[in-house]
């Protein structure tokens, strides 16, 4: 019995020792497992947190995407609506800044304020177009001058006929109608005689006009006929005849005019134009005034091929003898018949035709000769002039240009002038 107990005790001891040994080994392994498990749990917690962060970011992105999709949808809808809308409008126009240096007696070198010419275009389908141009400029005394250059409604009656009513640019000739905006005109100023005061180029009129163009074989023929309030004598005689769209007529005799242009080749155009009108003498202190016929004839031509731009225009105008006051304080007198002649020829060449240099190709040298002659009343002859203009343009873009020019102005009735001009112009 004792032996059995001893064996049992020995067995228990062995078992206990074995258990202790066995238990001792797993205790170390379990500790390592716990550590690994803790690391894994921490890693999983980090991953879970990252996933939560990513989910938040994803939600934010989804919200942004939804907003963007909504904006895109609205924009597409708006764009679609814009394209299909019956009434469409556009703000066009141009701005100009000038500098002039002259050796003329009594005149100073001066910067010119930035002139601003907004043009409002409002169209209804392909049927109607309203177009209005304003001109804002700063006068020498600092005040602002505002003028309505043109404002008219155009009805596209047929593919070949447009009917216009309102104030429109005169279709006489080519320069005033198409070339005078500063971003188009190759030189900083207008040709001699093609000016508002004292010149003989019709600028605008108030009335009605029919114009259009149609193909004739491989050529294109364009035309314009108009009836308007017509020109008037200036209050001051040396400013000659004023031809800038009067809002009311001073007589019942309307001016009638028109132009026919032919484009025999895509790069060649010629035009003849003219106007018939009657001018009423200015009232003065007593006496009587009379009417005189005032007629204008014009021929223009342009060659625009490749980098060449060559053009010219001639205007002849004639005023019959009439009775008029030469200034508001004097009595009317019978003035002799007078005739004005003005013309210019101009050539320009874009250097892109001779070089691919990124800078040089944007230069465009320009030369122009212009002449203004008057016969008849001596008061009208003050601006007679032969002018040579040489200029250089740099085109930053098709409608952004910097110009410099030298002019020699050979006046017949006052000292000659040498003038340097610089101009920046932006058409939009």
């Amino acid at each position: 019995m004792t032996e059995k107990l001893g064996r049992a005790a020995a067995a228990l001891a062995v078992a206990a020792i074995s258990a202790t040994i066995v238990a001792g080994l797993p205790t170390h392994a379990a500790a390592q497992s716990d550590e690994n498990l803790r690391h894994r749990i921490e890693a999983m917690e980090q991953q879970l947190q990252q996933m939560k962060d990513m989910a938040k970011q994803l939600d934010a992105l989804k919200q942004e995407l939804a907003k963007t999709q909504k904006k895109a949808s609205n924009a597409a809808k708006a764009a679609s609506a814009e394209d299909t809308r019956a009434i469409k409008w556009h703000l066009a126009g141009y701005g100009t800044a000038n500098y002039t240096a002259t050796d003329a007696s009594g005149e100073n070198n001066s910067f010119g304020a930035g002139d601003f010419n907004p043009i409002f275009l409002v169209g209804y389908k392909d049927l109607l177009l309203w177009e209005s141009e304003l001109e804002f400029s700063t006068l020498t005394d600092g005040s602002t001058k505002t003028e309505l250059e043109f404002s008219n409604l155009n009805l596209m009656a047929t593919d070949w006929l447009t009917l216009s009513a309102g104030k429109f640019l005169s279709p006489i000739g080519d320069f005033q109608q198409h070339l005078h905006p500063t971003w188009i005109n190759k030189l900083p100023d207008r040709p001699a005689g093609f000016v508002e005061d004292g010149g003989n180029e019709p600028l605008s009129d108030v009335g009605v006009m029919a114009r259009g163009a149609f193909p004739v074989g491989s050529m294109t023929l364009d035309y314009a006929v108009f009836a308007g309030n017509g020109p008037r004598l200036a209050d001051v005689a040396d400013e000659g005849v004023k031809m800038e769209g009067f809002g009311a007529d001073d007589n019942s005799n309307k001016a009638f005019g028109g132009r026919i242009g032919l484009r025999p080749l895509p790069y060649l155009s010629v035009g003849v134009s003219g106007m018939l009108s009657k001018i009423k003498g200015n009232a003065g202190s007593g006496g009587t005034v009379s009417h005189g016929d005032y007629d204008v004839e014009d021929i223009d031509a342009a060659f625009t091929k490749g980098n060449w731009d060559v053009r010219g225009e001639y205007i002849r105008s004639h005023l019959d003898s009439l009775s008029t006051a030469l200034d508001p304080a004097s009595a009317p007198v019978q003035i002799p018949a007078s005739t004005w002649h003005s013309w210019y020829a101009q050539a320009a060449y874009r250097l892109a035709g001779v070089t691919d240099n990124a800078v040089l190709r944007n230069f465009e040298p320009v030369v122009r000769y212009s002449q203004f002659d008057v016969s008849g009343l001596s008061d009208f002859t003050g601006n007679e002039e032969d002018r040579v203009s040489v200029g250089l343009d740099y085109w930053f873009a098709p409608s952004i240009v910097a110009k410099i020019a030298y002019e020699n102005r050979d006046f017949k009735n006052k000292p000659n002038e040498d003038v340097f001009r610089a101009q920046l112009a932006f058409g939009f």
Binding site: D159, F214, P266
Partner: protein
């Protein structure tokens, strides 16, 4: 130059000729106002119309000013601008529509 002008027909003759041209245009068998109004800006232009517009653009738009990049303006802008040029250049209506098609396809 004076001699040239002396040989020109009188201004009255010119006016008569212009009026005759205008009357001819008025009675021409081209779409009248109602049809012109329905000429949609939005009908998809054909490739031929776009090609004709490119040709018309190259032949007309450089006569007075530099060629403008089609990308300067949106379709809506070009609709109005080309209509303005149709009146002032002037351009035949068909030519103006072809130029619009080209500009709107190229911007």
């Amino acid at each position: 130059m004076n001699q040239v002008m002396k040989q020109m027909k009188s201004a009255r003759g010119l006016l008569v000729a212009s009026l005759a041209v205008a009357v001819a245009a008025l009675v021409s068998p081209v779409p009248a106002v109602a049809q012109s109004a329905t000429a949609s800006n939005n009908a998809a232009p054909s490739p031929l119309q776009i090609a004709q517009g490119a040709k018309a653009w190259s032949e007309n738009c450089g006569r007075c000013h530099n060629f403008r990049d089609p990308k300067e303006f949106s379709d809506k802008n070009w609709d109005v601008i080309v209509t303005h040029m149709r009146t002032i250049a002037p351009l035949p209506g068909q030519t103006a529509r072809e130029i619009k098609a080209f500009l709107k396809a190229s911007n």
